[in-house]
Structures are given as structure tokens and as C-alpha cells.
Symmetry: C2
Subunit: 336 residues, 2 copies
DNA sequence: GTGAAAGCGCTAACAC
DNA sequence: GTGTTAGCGCTTTCAC
């Protein structure tokens, strides 16, 4: 088992250099030699050992995507977008997830330090700006969906502030004046920015900001329900809730249902992300769509360009990509 | 950038062999040397190049998981189980997904052929038994959640026939006599087996099998709704529907709702997999739970043992793992 | 306890 | 158009 380039060479009666040349589509090799090498490869069932190749070439053509957790089906859409761009260009994409465990992110980054991958795309990160900047000097990294303030690192995100502004403004337009907000802790820059957008939209509509209409928990499922429970116990409960993730919206909707409210009528709920399940829920859920495919494509496109950029001027820009408000049943709109 | 073992050696005033020894925790190295090497490593910010290391060691300690698509959040739970076992044992797990595209599976397997990974776990496959058997001779591969008939390859799955039998029997026990089935094409062994289990359960209850109560589509979301639409147009529509995936159940439920039926009362729906969203749906959905964590753990445990088994007798066994029926709102049970 | 040196499989100068 | 050879960064015998 495990034929090497040398085996192929003797089988084909040529030197290893010639074999290597046909492997790499080097034009300067005769038709005859090419044919004999191909035959030998087939006969021996040879495939090149990439450890040797990559060691020599000093790059691997694989890019690692690190996700904070694995239950956001939203991340998968980004990965799809990344893959669709990268694969035809000779890059393999591999994924790892942090499962929100301490130290895991750094563990995964080892693949970068150990030269197993050429670059890393972080779909959310716990690294601070300093660390990121230092990392970015020596390695090719990029942020996607979650920026970090002060980090001069290639990042592509949605304009979170504007997106939240638009979502909230839409709720206002529907006639709501008592609009609550469910966010994650402000440490997540996306949630912080969305909260700012929410506040700005209320201000623009001359609606006073109420602390009791703001709930900050975690990005995951449970917090939404807790928030709604709290909101609905208020003397003046809100008529609309804007959640910074669809998962949060789902749990908010469920709790509202349990409380006997008809979502879309008694209470409007708006999510964020537009994951597939939004259309499967009952009612379907309104949300802010992040253009996952496009984000994935853009971030990997720029990252690859950085990787191939030997002269030091890499693109560490901050790019935003257009969001879209999707109105469905949970805000009283018709489906389809 | 990119210090090598040689740099560390000169910095520490020792030979590369000694550096390598401390890197690999070889006991036969003096405290003093160890200290100097560690200092040099820190100073230079050195991390070993795994391409060199792996080339020499002839293994990489990474295992690849290939998924048929990326929207089954169910797969992610298996990957979690795999990771939780593998990581503490020095193995990295990386994921790739086929996105149901022709040829992608083989493309990903290249990582195995190219020695980039030590083994592969297939969460569903398009390879036939012959191919799999041939592959398994030379490489370490395993199947999980989806077996293939005639393949003598390490596989761990749920007993699909029995699981479907139990699910259907439960529906019978609830008093249903008109029970429909929504499956994927029989080419998917899991779906075929589940259909067999469904049939056996009906037979055991002396309920005649009706062709018009059987719908075979795809594993994904849409088919469920189509099926329900068809079923409900029947002169004698079913009172219960068993779907071979939760996604199918979700879409069945949605369609039933659209048709004005109250799921859990007018129509019972049972899914398969127990993905997280089952608890978020309205009503919550009853299902057959596959013990993802356990499956992941078992399959990777056995695969790693195969990888480390230099003498040729590898474990190509077929293992099943216990399923569990979870009763929720969609079959009229309380959510608790 | 430590170092010199061979070699893992491959690519790329260089020579012819 | 082809072969020879050095060497990518590392581990591991084998001497000492």
C-alpha cells in the first residue's frame, strides 16, 4: 500500500522529475512520457502524498473556517458560500467548531500555526483586537459576521446597526410604539450594534427608550422565552419584539404561544439571520436576512487574494454587505 | 516569520534532535536542556511545522467527517460526539460536506488518499458496497447513520427497522389505524429499512398495507408537505403520518396546518432524528431519537482503534445503538 | 543525555 | 524534453 512518486517513476521508466511534471501539468513533457506516466499511475493506484508536496511548496491550499458553535444552521450557509467560491479555485475548506468552549479557538488555530492550513476565517471570535492584529501580521485571517472593534483585520459583515434600524423602523411603520429588544450581551459586537440601531430607530420615531423593554441574555435559544415572559408581566407590555437572532425569535414565539398570545396579531416578533427554519415555523418568522452566500464568497475571495499576495500589502479592510428585511407571519404578514 | 526547529536549536545551543525530543516529551533529556529549549521556543514564537512532522511520522492525527449536506443540524450533533471523544485523544476532527453534488464525495476522499487525514467517517454515502470494500482494504473508513448493504466496513447505526417498528407501533397504540408513511427513495438504506419496520408494525397489528398511504420522495424539507397534501385528498385520509426525518415532519405539519387541520388532534405526526428544532416547533414534534453523541463516540472510538492497529485485523463490524421514542405535541402528548 | 545523519515524498533549480 | 540533485522541516536510529 501507498505507492510513491518513485514507484511510479520506475514503473513508467522515467525519472521522478518527469512524474512530478505530469502531476503538476507542466507543459514541457512529451506526449509519450505523459502517457506512460499516466498508465503507471493508474496501474499502481497512486495518489500523491500531499504532506510531501505541501512541505515543499510551503502551502497547503486549505482554508479553515472556525464556528463558535455548531447549532447555528446559519453558519452553514456561509460555509456553503465559501466553499462554492474556493473549491473551483483549488482550495479545500475544512470546518471546526469551538462549541463555545474555553481555549478551543486557539486549539483550532494551531492548524494555522502548524502550517496545516493557509488561512482561517473566524465566524465570531473570542480574541481581542490586539491578539487579532498580532496574528494578522504573521498569518492570513479574516472575520466574518462578527467584527471586533479596533482589529485591523480583513472583515466582512452586515451593517448591523443599519439592519437593526431598518427592522425596528419596519415595526414602527406597522404601527407599533411599544417595541422590545432581545439581545445578547454587549460583548458581542453584532448585538451591541443592533441594539444601537434599535435605539436610533426609536429615537427617530420619537418613541422613548425604556429599559424594561430591553433584555440582554445569550445568543441562543432559551433567552427569547425568558425575555418574553418578563416583558409580558409588565404593566404595559410591548406589542412587538425584535430579537437579534432567529433562535431567540423562535423561543420568544413559543413562549408567547404558551402565554396564550397569537403571534402576528397580539404580538409581532422579528428575528435576525433568516435561517431555513424561519419558513418552517408556525407562524413563519419575519427576520433580517444576512446574505450568507455573498458574505462567504467575499470573505474567502479576499482572503485567498491575501494568501497569494507575497508582497506584504494585504487587504485588512472592513467590508459590509447588504441585508434585507423579510416580512412573514410573525409580524402579521402573509406567507409566500 | 516561521521559525524552524533549526532556529530553536541554535537559539538554545543544542541540536535539533534535542529540540525534537522536548517537543515530543521524550524523557531522556536533561532538565537544563529542556528549560533552554522551552525558552528558545517562547522567544522565537516557534510552533512545529506539522507537514514535516507528519511526513516523517506517516500519520496526521486528523480524521475527516463527510456529511451529505450541511442543513441537517442532526449531523452536527454526531460531529459533536465524535469531537468530544477524539480531541482529548490527540485527534483533530475536520468536516466537509458534499452538498449533494456529484463527485464531491470522492473529491473529499482525496484528503484520505493524499495522506492529509488518517481516516474518514461517512455520514451517508453514494459509494456502493464494492467501492467501499476496496477502499476499506487500504484506508480507514467508517459509516455512521447510514449503512450500505454488502459493505464490510465499520458501521454504527441505529436499528432503523426496529426504530420505525416502534414508532409505528406507538401510533397504533394511540388508537390509529390509518397510518401513512413518508420516506425517501429506497436507495437510502435507512429509509428502506424504516419502511420495512413500518410495514411489519402494521402487519403485527393486522392493519392492511395501503399503497396510497405511502409516499417516497427525498429526505429534505419539501416532500413532507407534498405527501400530506396527497394523503388528505384521499377518500379515507390517514389520521397519523410517520416521516423518516424531522425535516419531513416539519413540512408535513406545516402543510397540515395550512389545510386547517390541528396537528396532534386531527392528525398525528411523528418524525425521526430528534433534532433541536423539534422542541421549538408549534406544536412540538414527536420523533425517534438517534443517540447522536453516542453514535459519534462509538464510531470514532472504533475507527481510531483501527487506525492504530498496525497488524491487519481491523474491526469491520456492524454495530447498532439504541434509539428512543420521544412523544410530544404533534402526537397529542403534553410537552411537559 | 546528546548529536550527526539519514530519510519521509515531493518539487524545482540546474544541467544536459 | 528529461534526469540529477538539493532540500522543504521534521523524527529517529545509531554512535558516543
Amino acid at each position: 500500500m501507498g505507492a510513491t512518486i518513485k514507484d511510479v517513476a520506475v514503473e513508467a521508466g522515467v525519472s521522478v522529475a518527469t512524474v512530478s511534471r505530469v502531476l503538476n501539468n507542466n507543459p514541457s513533457v512529451s506526449e509519450d512520457a505523459k502517457k506512460r506516466v499516466s498508465a503507471a499511475i493508474d496501474k499502481l493506484g497512486y495518489s500523491p502524498n500531499y504532506l510531501g508536496r505541501n512541505l515543499r511548496k510551503k502551502h497547503t491550499n486549505v482554508i479553515l473556517v472556525i464556528m463558535p458553535n455548531s447549532d447555528h444552521s446559519f453558519y452553514m450557509n456561509i460555509v456553503s458560500g465559501i466553499r462554492r467560491y474556493a473549491q473551483p479555485r483549488g482550495y479545500s475548506i475544512i470546518c471546526a467548531s469551538t462549541d463555545e468552549m474555553e481555549g478551543m479557538e486557539l486549539r483550532h488555530m494551531d492548524m494555522l500555526f502548524n502550517r496545516i492550513v493557509d488561512g482561517v476565517i473566524l465566524l465570531g471570535t473570542n480574541f481581542d483586537a490586539d491578539t487579532l492584529n498580532k496574528l494578522s501580521e504573521e498569518y492570513n485571517i479574516a472575520l466574518c459576521t462578527e467584527s471586533v472593534a479596533g482589529a485591523e483585520v480583513l472583515t466582512v459583515v452586515v451593517n448591523d446597526e443599519k439592519a437593526a434600524y431598518d427592522a425596528t423602523a419596519e415595526l414602527v411603520k406597522e404601527g407599533h410604539r411599544r417595541i422590545a429588544f432581545v439581545g445578547a450581551a454587549d460583548s458581542a459586537s453584532s448585538s451591541r450594534k443592533r441594539r444601537q440601531g434599535y435605539i436610533r430607530a426609536l429615537k427617530d420615531a420619537s418613541i422613548p427608550i425604556k429599559d424594561e423593554y430591553m433584555y440582554l441574555g445569550r445568543y441562543d435559544y432559551v433567552s427569547g422565552g425568558t425575555a418574553v415572559e418578563k416583558f409580558m408581566a409588565l404593566p404595559e407590555p410591548p406589542t412587538a419584539v425584535f430579537c437579534v437572532s432567529d433562535l431567540l425569535a423562535f423561543s420568544a414565539i413559543k413562549k408567547a404561544n404558551d402565554l396564550g398570545l397569537t403571534v402576528g396579531k397580539d404580538l409581532a416578533v422579528m428575528g435576525f439571520d433568516n435561517i431555513t427554519f424561519c419558513e418552517m415555523m408556525q407562524p413563519t418568522v419575519s427576520t433580517v436576512e444576512q446574505p450568507c452566500m455573498e458574505m462567504g464568497r467575499e470573505v474567502v475571495r479576499k482572503l485567498i487574494s491575501n494568501i497569494n499576495n507575497t508582497n506584504g500589502d494585504k487587504d485588512n479592510g472592513y467590508y459590509t454587505v447588504a441585508h434585507r428585511i423579510v416580512l412573514r407571519g410573525s409580524t402579521g404578514h402573509n406567507d409566500n
